[in-house]
Structures are given as structure tokens and as C-alpha cells.
């Protein structure tokens, strides 16, 4: 079951007094768009999602506290514990390695002061997700009703690894963090990593490259795929490994594969796709970048170079590929090559 159709999301939509004509997640998104639209009416000079983040933070009366080091954490705990905000006493335990942000309702704030503190953990690699984490925490506050601002506390409706409310709030964070009203007008040129970096620097400088590239691909009107390639097992190999059917001498042989594939509406309409876990062709720029031949390569290739472990091939279509090396993965932008002089 899609977590966005779970009873919990219906409950959230109901608590916000939303009509039943839309799906609950669409209704909540629409509700938040109206709230954000209200903020934009108050601040017509707001021109980027990064500015919008600061404004949105102020409206549900929240304040970000960013932690870059253990010393920052100690200092934050001392500051708020001195004000008898007991929840901060346990902050070090709450901010375990798998937790990126936490929102705390202050018990002793003056009425004019911020009522919520969103602690954003930016220690180590968590820093790369700080922009999304901020929007995620604000997403929770955007869907709090006035009554809940006094009484709400997190629930524990177990739903596998990720709770429906978290999935819903991720949806809101992805939408408002790269708000189409600001992003779409920027997407008039063909996409490249250089273009994405320019847009990122202008609109959402705090966002990671991968999050920015995902947003640009999703919002672009032309077909694009964003592929993250890593050395990995095929689905069949993973299953066999879990079932213990490999013998000692013939273990699985991981290959460079498309582990994440983001596509947009235009790509889906034109059936331009690379299925997840397909092997990256050895002659592709993606493979060459991953093997260290270069940090960046761009090339014209053929889609039918791609094949699955059971030798299924994709249709023959010329494509443009731009690959960029990363820490342990290679990112690539792919688009059909229409011979339109993009070379």
C-alpha cells in the first residue's frame, strides 16, 4: 500500500478540514500551497525557494538551530536547558546517526517569540541534507492545526521503516524546497550539470547537487533521466544471496548498475527509460567516469548499449549522456539526442 493513501494521511487531511474530492496527499499539498501563497502575498519580493524557506520558518513561529559540531550541540543544550526546556536534555540521544532534524515545541517561550525550534543536524555528511531537512521539519509545522500547536505530539504508528506522515512531509519538502513557481521559469535551456549548478547557486544554494538535479529533471518539459550509478548486485542476485543459494566459490559478482533512476513526465510520455539495476555499458561515459578515466565526460551514445543481467536490451535510440564523478557513485544526465545541434 502506498503510504500516502494510508489512514494516517486521511486523518491529517481530515484534521485540516480538507475536502474529500482530492486524494488526501494532494489535498494536503494544495492546502500548504495556499498557506505558502499567503506568505508570498505578504512578501512580494521573495524570489527564490531559499528566501521562501526563511519566510515560511517565521510564519509557523519556528526558528532553525543549526548544529555543525558536537560543541554546537553542547552549547545548544546548555542554552535551552538554562531556560528549563527539558526536552533539550535528551537532544544528544535523540540526534542519533540516523536522525537529521528534530522539531521541539518550547514550553516556556514568550508569546511573541518563536514557539518551535527546528534543530538541524549538519554534522558530517548530514550537512548535505540540511536544506531538505529544514523543509521537512517545516512540513510538519505547516500541517499542524492551531489546536495541535498546543497538544500535538508525535505518534508511533509503525509503518515499516517510514511512517506515512514522514512520507507526506517528504513530499511537501520536495515540492516547496524546489517550488515550481520559481524553478520552472529557469528551465528554458537544455539541462547540464553546469546549468543545474547555476540554478542551484541562484535559487537554493543550500541544497545538494543530487537534490537540485532531481528537481530540475522532474520539472523540465523535455525528456530527461537522472541516473545514479553504483557497483551493485542485480535483483536476482540479491534474492539469491538472501536465500544463500550461492556456493562458496561462486559468489555474486557486483557490476556498475543504475541504482536510482529519476525520470520526468516528458520522458514517461515518450517511453524513454532505463530500468533500475540495468548494467551500465562499459563503453558508456558513465562507466568511464566511474572507473576514474575522467571526473566528467559528455558523449552521444545509443540506448541499446544498456542491457539487463538476463541480456534484455533497450530500444535503439541515440542519446546524450553527461556523467559526473562523485564519492562512491556517478551521476548522469541522459536525454534523447534529436540531432538538434546540442553538440
Amino acid at each position: 500500500m502506498n503510504p500516502l493513501n494510508s489512514p494516517k494521511v486521511f486523518e491529517i487531511a481530515h484534521s485540516l478540514g480538507l475536502a474529500r474530492s482530492l486524494s488526501p496527499s494532494e489535498a494536503v499539498l494544495h492546502y500548504c500551497e495556499q498557506r505558502i501563497g499567503g506568505f508570498l502575498d505578504l512578501f512580494p519580493d521573495c524570489a527564490t525557494p531559499q528566501d521562501l524557506l526563511e519566510i515560511t520558518k517565521g510564519m509557523p513561529k519556528a526558528k532553525f538551530e543549526r548544529i555543525d559540531s558536537d560543541e554546537d550541540l553542547d552549547s545548544l543544550v546548555r542554552t535551552y536547558c538554562d531556560r528549563r526546556e527539558l526536552a533539550f536534555a535528551n537532544l544528544a540521544n535523540e540526534l542519533c546517526p540516523t536522525t537529521y532534524g528534530i522539531s521541539i515545541r518550547l514550553q516556556r517561550a514568550a508569546p511573541y517569540q518563536p514557539q518551535f525550534i527546528c534543530v538541524i543536524d549538519c554534522r558530517g555528511e548530514k550537512r548535505l541534507r540540511s536544506y531538505f531537512t529544514k523543509w521537512h521539519e517545516l512540513g510538519h509545522l505547516l500541517i499542524l492545526t492551531d489546536e495541535q500547536q498546543h497538544t500535538f505530539h508525535r505518534s508511533h504508528t509503525a509503518y515499516g521503516e517510514k511512517e506515512p506522515e514522514e512520507v507526506l512531509v517528504d513530499l511537501l519538502a520536495g515540492h516547496f524546497g524546489f517550488f515550481p513557481a520559481f524553478l520552472t521559469p529557469e528551465l528554458t535551456q537544455p539541462l547540464s550539470f553546469a546549468t543545474i549548478n547555476r540554478i542551484r547557486a541562484r535559487l537554493f544554494k543550500e541544497a545538494s547537487l543530487i537534490a537540485s538535479a532531481t528537481a530540475c529533471v522532474k520539472s523540465h518539459q523535455h525528456p530527461y533521466l537522472l541516473v545514479e550509478a553504483k557497483v551493485a548486485l542485480s535483483e536476482r542476485q540479491k534474492t539469491a544471496l538472501h536465500q544463500g543459494t550461492f556456493d562458496f566459490f561462486h559468489g555474486p559478482d557486483p557490476k556498475l548498475r543504475a541504482v536510482t533512476v529519476v525520470s520526468n513526465d516528458a520522458a514517461r510520455r515518450s517511453k524513454f527509460n532505463i530500468p533500475k539495476t540495468f548494467r551500465v555499458p562499459e563503453r558508456s561515459a558513465i562507466f568511464r567516469v566511474h572507473s576514474g578515466e575522467s571526473g566528467w565526460l559528455s558523449a552521444t551514445e545509443e540506448l541499446d548499449w544498456w542491457e539487463s543481467s538476463d541480456s534484455r536490451r533497450l530500444p535503439r535510440t541515440p542519446i546524450r549522456v553527461e556523467a559526473r564523478g562523485g564519492f562512491n557513485a556517478t551521476l548522469a544526465l541522459l536525454s534523447p539526442n534529436y540531432g538538434d545541434g546540442q553538440d
Binding site: 505578504l42 512578501f43 519580493d45 521573495c46 528566501d51 526563511e54 519566510i55 520558518k57 517565521g58 510564519m59 509557523p60 513561529k61 519556528a62 543544550v77 536547558c81 526546556e85 527539558l86 526536552a87 536534555a89 535528551n90 540521544n93 535523540e94 542519533c96 540516523t98 536522525t99 537529521y100 532534524g101 528534530i102 522539531s103 521541539i104 515545541r105 518550547l106 514550553q107 508569546p111 511573541y112 517569540q113 518563536p114 514557539q115 518551535f116 531537512t133 521537512h136 521539519e137 510538519h140 509545522l141 499542524l144 492551531d146 500547536q149 498546543h150 497538544t151 505530539h153 508525535r154 508511533h156 509503525a158 509503518y159 515499516g160 521503516e161 517510514k162 511512517e163 514522514e166 512531509v169
Partner: protein, 137 residues
């Protein structure tokens, strides 16, 4: 009727800040702050955000002057989770101390984690109590 400017002025004075000091804290000129307090200028979002930060005020309060009424103590039924009851009994906590522990936990309204959030066990409640004790003795 209270305005954005008058709310800025009131909060600045409550906090014993001069216009010079607020200008220093925000990097905005004193003349601009003075004009803003007298509602002679429209303020950009950036400047208003800077002033809100310097006065530790929420943007919504400065803009709308809205203050949510605090919920009245005792109106909502207090439900003590069983795991907390067990921990409180073992730790010999008073009712007030138990409520304090419950409120500390309930203050955390959301967190972004790659793992699901589970209910607190009795051991978790004891750990929370210990964390508070470590700070306050």
C-alpha cells in the same frame, strides 16, 4: 491599532535596546529602523527577518500581532503511558516529576529519521529521566 512598526518598537523597548543597538545587530541603518517604527517605510522580507531574529520574535507576530492563547492546564486529560508508569514506579518519581518527563517527551513534535519512530519503552523513559538528571542534578 497596533502596526508592524509599533510592535517592533514595543519589543525593542521591552528588551532595553536602542535604535542604534538594533541597527548594529541587524546591519540595517538607524534611520531605516526609525522610519519603520513610525510606519513610514515598507520593509523587505530580508530586513523584517533580520529584525525578527535580533528581537527573537516570530515573523508572524511582527506581521500580524497574533498570539496564540496558551492551552489551559488541566483542560486536556493526561494519559500516562504504561511504560512511563513502570519507569516512574521503579525510579520512585512523584506525579509532578512524571508529568515533567511526559511533557519533555511530548515537546518533541517531529523528527526526520531514516528509521521509523517507535514507542518509548520503560528503559527509554528511564534514559530520558537520566539525561535530564545529568543536566539538572
Amino acid at each position: 491599532m497596533s502596526t508592524v512598526g509599533s510592535r517592533i518598537k514595543t519589543l525593542r523597548e521591552q528588551q532595553n535596546l536602542t535604535q542604534d543597538r538594533l541597527a548594529e545587530l541587524t546591519g540595517i541603518s538607524k534611520g531605516f529602523i526609525s522610519d519603520s517604527e513610525n510606519d513610514k517605510r515598507n520593509m523587505s522580507s530580508q530586513n523584517l527577518l533580520k529584525i525578527a531574529d535580533a528581537l527573537n520574535a516570530s515573523l508572524e507576530y511582527l506581521l500580524r500581532g497574533t498570539i496564540l492563547a496558551k492551552s489551559q492546564t488541566g483542560q486536556e486529560p493526561v494519559v500516562i503511558p504504561q511504560e512511563l508508569s513502570v519507569a516512574a514506579e521503579e525510579l520512585k518519581l512523584s506525579y509532578a516529576e512524571t508529568l515533567e518527563l511526559l511533557n519533555a517527551h511530548r515537546s518533541v513534535i517531529a523528527k526526520r529519521s531514516v528509521k521509523g519512530v517507535r514507542s518509548l519503552t520503560s528503559a527509554d523513559w528511564k534514559a530520558l529521566h537520566q539525561a535530564i538528571k545529568n543536566i539538572y542534578g
